[in-house]
Symmetry: C2
């Protein structure tokens, strides 16, 4: 930092401003308020990367490259006049990774992801995304981890530690409360201080304290009246002073309005900068409305970052990461994050069936990940039918012919658009093919079982909708009905695979089928990973880190999502799109996800923490290090595999806190652990450590984290509603944990 300070002291004003006004990707001629972004060395160094910092070679400072995104490195796979390819691994989406509840596995993924970042000459990957899944329709939920801040913070910590282990950086995002895409550049999130601290900031707090991400990305939205990228309170008071963040803050692309306010707030790097922003800062310095000391500090933090980068260290990147090895890991992670939602009469794993009739468009065109900046340019995606074939099953050839022809036609009529065109006007997915019942019946006769895939995709720019997205389309419902009727008439099983980055409605149709596997969007090895679970090669151990409601209307946030619009005040904004001032009030406060469902006794379709296994686990011998809390509590539990096949169990530790001073959720997740692969009969002792902060709630009046005195109940469960062991301890006297 001293060296950074020294370098900044040698800079001209122009050089400092060049540093803080970063450079973006080439975007073609666009009608952009604030003008086109500066375009610099990026396109030459790593085509397809999202941006760069300005190089000052006279001071020994190279350009550094930042690139998307949460599910893997997003760069251009092909380059002009270059026969080499630059594919990156499409990892399982963040939601799947969180569903593993396996911080070691996620850290391994992070290490491999970071290896690709480093070996492709990139300095910072723009991820992970760690906003809270406030509402199931949030389009970027697939890029986020959970509705719960502890899962979010712990999984993000593992990911950041893994990536940064390589000596490259992360940019945890989007800081903060960017829980929706609707009006993302203009919506003002109105959130109570308590909900902010306990829910929306808590994951960031954990990752900042436990993993020290190199950078934080401020979000597009306003928070309680101020753009987050212009908020001194958020970026300096909370992030730096309260949490001790030492890194650099950058804007989301074209985020915020007032470059000078951004400098003052501590948003060091404007991505990508525009001539207008450069001018605004220059003018402010000249007018003395911006103290050059502020700018120096911003520049110093950028330089400090640059000094850590592979670029500065002249790392000789290979452009040859070991993609084959990474694919093996991607497959392992994918299979471990899938959630078995239903399994009647041990329909799964597949025992005898050899000939499988695969229904549903997505069986033939599996979705590896979401769209937008969370997308990755991978070399291939293994479809479900390919995965089944690789696993030795025979898939029905006529169905393959029919679906392939249908999908070819659809794609031929909807040619791939550029990233920008797709962003502005997303191509809808092909509607579910409806088959003649005679064909379905003939397959019920000739095949041993049916698999139906229900596919969903979403991504930045446009939130999901209830009709034909959260809810199944009529065609999908009909497909499930007709296939189930025909196969059950022949005594054959029907399994539904959900290939989605987020939550869908399941309650209305799950009774019709024998098993439901939530495969999420599992990355490039998709079909192989699904086949691993279907065949029993991998025993599913994923658990939901997000609630599946019975119906969308059950969601407490539904009445405040995506908020109110002030259409009469609309202006032309980002990429020529209409920017409508809007406001979303988080009326539910801290009662997000299971905190709402469990406290208000609203029965979900599948609760937070839920997930089946091919085996069973017994919980016993729960022990507390003490029955009274004295700064720290250690809890142990024995978990035994009582079934007939090996498996892993995720044990969740919830605590019900005393509510004498504050209303609180029925219980909150405070720790979790995953067993190793336990053989039948094998037992493992798990340990959970509880500190005072984990007992605390944020008392707004006191503006402090306070652990209330009273009796706390520890609930050890296989889901938030399936509590298998409980224990209590007391806190004699209230603790003021942080102020």
């Amino acid at each position: 930092y001293t060296k950074a300070k020294e370098l900044v002291s040698k800079m001209t004003l122009d050089e400092k401003i060049n540093l803080v006004v970063g450079m973006g990707m080439k975007m073609g001629a666009m009608n952009m308020p604030g003008g086109a972004p500066n375009v610099g060395q990026t396109m030459d160094k790593v085509p397809g990367a999202a941006g760069t910092t300005f190089a000052l070679p006279q001071l020994g400072l190279p350009t550094t490259v930042v690139a998307d995104g949460p599910a893997g490195l997003r760069i251009e796979p092909k380059r002009v006049n270059d026969a080499n390819t630059y594919y990156a691994t499409a990892w399982p989406v963040a939601t799947l990774l969180a569903s593993t509840w396996d911080v070691k596995l996620v850290e391994q993924v992070g290490k491999a992801m970071g290896n690709e970042v480093k070996e492709y000459g990139v300095d910072v990957i723009l991820g992970p995304g760690m906003n809270i899944m406030r509402n199931p329709l949030g389009a970027r939920n697939f890029e986020y981890y959970s509705e719960d801040p502890l899962v979010t913070g712990k999984i993000a910590t593992a990911m950041v530690n893994g990536i940064q282990w390589n000596g490259v950086g992360t940019s945890v995002k989007h800081f903060a409360v960017n829980n929706q895409e609707t009006n993302r550049n203009s919506v003002d999130a109105i959130v109570s201080e308590r909900a902010l601290r306990e829910i929306y900031l808590r994951g960031f707090e954990l990752v900042v304290k436990e993993a020290k991400p190199w950078t934080v990305m401020s979000s597009y939205n306003l928070l309680n009246g101020t753009y987050t990228s212009q908020s001194y309170d958020l970026l300096t008071t909370v992030l730096r002073k309260d949490w001790g963040f030492k890194g650099m803050v950058m804007t989301d692309w074209f985020g915020g309005k007032d470059a000078v306010a951004q400098m003052k707030a501590g948003n060091d790097l404007l991505m990508p900068g525009t001539p207008q922003k450069r001018k605004a800062i220059t003018d402010a310095i000249n007018n003395k409305t911006l103290d050059v000391k502020v700018l120096d500090e911003n520049a110093t933090r950028i330089v400090a970052y640059i000094l850590e980068t592979p670029a500065f260290k002249k790392y000789a990147f290979s452009n040859k990461p070991d993609l084959k090895q990474h694919a093996v890991l991607a497959r392992e992670a994918a299979a471990n994050g899938m959630v078995l939602l239903k399994n009647n009469n041990t329909a799964l794993p597949i025992i005898a069936a050899k000939n499988i009739a695969a229904f549903g468009n997505t069986s033939y065109d599996f979705i590896s990940g979401g769209t937008g900046s969370g997308d990755v340019n991978e070399e291939y995606t293994i479809s479900l039918v390919e995965g089944l074939q690789n696993a030795g099953y025979t898939v029905d050839a006529e169905l393959k012919t029919i679906y392939s022809a249908y999908l070819y036609d659809y794609k031929a009529k909807h040619p791939k658009k550029s990233f920008i065109e797709e962003f502005v006007n997303p191509t809808p997915n092909a509607s579910e093919l409806l088959l003649n019942n005679a064909i379905i019946s003939s397959k019920a006769a000739s095949s041993d079982m049916a698999v139906i895939t229900i596919g969903r995709n979403a991504g930045e720019g446009k939130d999901r909708v209830v009709l034909n997205d959260f809810n199944l389309s009529k065609a999908e419902q009909q497909l499930i009905d007709e296939v189930s009727t025909a196969f059950h008439a022949k005594g054959k099983k029907v399994v539904v695979i959900i290939n989605a980055g987020g939550v869908i409605e399941v309650a209305s149709w799950r009774d019709k089928v024998d098993a439901v596997l939530l495969a999420w969007q599992p990355g490039l090895e998709a079909g192989n990973a699904v086949a691993d679970v279907l065949s029993g090669k991998v025993n599913p151990s994923g658990k939901l880190a997000v609630t599946f409601p019975v119906k969308y209307e059950d969601e407490i946030t539904a009445k405040n999502f995506p908020g109110k619009e002030f259409k009469e005040k609309a202006v032309t904004g980002f990429m020529g799109q209409k920017e409508i001032p809007a406001e979303v009030t988080h009326e539910e406060g801290v009662y997000v996800g299971y905190r709402y469902y469990n406290t208000f006794n609203v029965k979900p379709a599948y609760e937070f923490g839920y997930g089946l296994s091919y085996t069973n686990f017994d919980y016993k011998n729960v022990k507390l290090s003490s029955s009274t809390f004295k700064g720290k509590l250690v809890i142990t539990l024995e978990v035994t595999n009582t079934g007939t096949v090996a498996g892993k169990e995720v044990v969740q530790l919830y605590i019900a806190a005393p509510t004498n001073k504050l209303d609180k959720p029925n219980e909150e997740l405070k720790a979790f652990a995953k067993t190793d692969l336990l053989q039948p009969g094998q037992t493992q002792t798990l340990q959970f450590v509880i500190d005072a902060k984990l007992l605390a709630s944020f008392h707004t009046a006191a503006s402090a984290w306070v652990a209330d005195a009273g009796t706390y109940t520890v609930k050890l469960g296989t889901s938030s509603l399936a509590i298998k062991q409980t224990a209590t301890f007391t806190l004699a006297k209230e603790i003021l944990v942080e102020k």
Copy 2:
């Protein structure tokens, strides 16, 4: 007529008004200006019929039933609590029938169609349609015969004679100048007196004089400022006084605005009547603004019609017409009206090919006829592939699987709507399936030839458009490109079947394929009839009765179609649809169709009268009964089949008239004749009779048909541009033919 008069004299005013205010089909609750139609005995007698007249049993007058339409009887095929079916024959559409140029064959079709009318208990069929095909986008062109009034009048005469031979009636329609659907209830057709007499009214004149249709249906539009149904000039002066029409005139359904004006104009029957119209007439009689003598005359003409009907004669209809026999005739007519547009290197008939790869959605879902009231509820339509299979060919099974699945899906997602819903919001056709080139290549290897069907459909309510309708869609172009390339690479032929009710663009793609057969919409035996022609079982003898332009913009009428709209004056009209006052000026005058192309040397893709055969014909020994015209001229011509297979030839007699007094088309069709099936080497002498009216033009100043003095050239051709023999005669002195 005396008896009718006597019966009317016994009627009360109410009874008379009940008679003139007819009854319609049940249409459900609709927002209709003027109120819902009266619904009477129709639904009980013949479900699905369009309307009835009011019964006055006290006077011995039964209800009579009128039903659509031009391509066959349109009634409900199924009835409540009745196991019997009431299917009718879907005949080839009018455009195909005209393309036979075979008045004997059309009369046979008329006899069979009329038999179904009679045997199903209907009294009048609402057809034929005989408006002029002014512009290729006219949605009802399929219901009409030709761009030429002589073909129109002669074919309509054959049809009316055939139908009425059964003792049932016709309603020739839509009288007059209803050449478009856009704003059909509000458009004012501005037409010169000459164009009216020579083009738009001429066909009606011929049919009224030569076939005496029982009824005429006035049209929806205005003509030179007046609704046709309210025009005394049109319905009384021209139709009755000039032409001697003795029958009844009825409105098109809900046509016109002013019931009293309709009565006065001679529009006897209002279909279907409404309470408002009944009230308007009653009030006008009471106010003395309508003379009861006018109403008496209207009523008398209705009674005179009723007295002729099977209903009055208590005909015991069987409900069992011989549909099997009619299907045989429908197939024969269909094969004889198809037009072979291109046949390079005798690609057709098929000699050696056995395995056929059929491409194009419509190959699997052939279109028998147009939509709307011109549609028929037939029991089946033989698709192209069924027809080919019936003829002993093998069609590719994989393509059948793919196309069938694609079309099933589309139809399942677009369930059949009611007639009214379909009218208001027509279901678009499935877009052309695009196939993976690998599949096309494999078919080029495994099949002996390719057939590609290009399908089009249209009907009342909405005119066609250029994009993806008149012009091929991108997918269709791509299909033709890829199939042609793949099959030609293997030395195999590609044949395109056009399955359309009207004209499409052909010039841009015809060079890519070996043969093009214009199959029109050939009725329920469609695929069998196409196979008859492809196999050579029937040698094609159809000729175009409408020009195929190189491009839509070549059409002289394009700049005045569908006319100007006065949107600011829009009102809510028929079926709640917007009614926009509009105006279409027939700026081209008499230069419609080939009269324009030939006179102004605009080269069409395929000219009026064009059509290939599998054999060749020689024309010789043209003889005129005299070289000077003296009231009548007889022309004979010997036609010899000089090829190697039997065939029929349509010889067209055009006359180029002197233009010293009036500009005139280069030539106009004045007669035509079709040979019998001539064996190779066989010769037939055809005879054509020309009377003075055929030489005359309408001189507007004199308001008279005048044959100008001078030299007339007779052109005997196999098309309007392929003239094989000419001869001249002179008219010494101008003849005033009619005034």
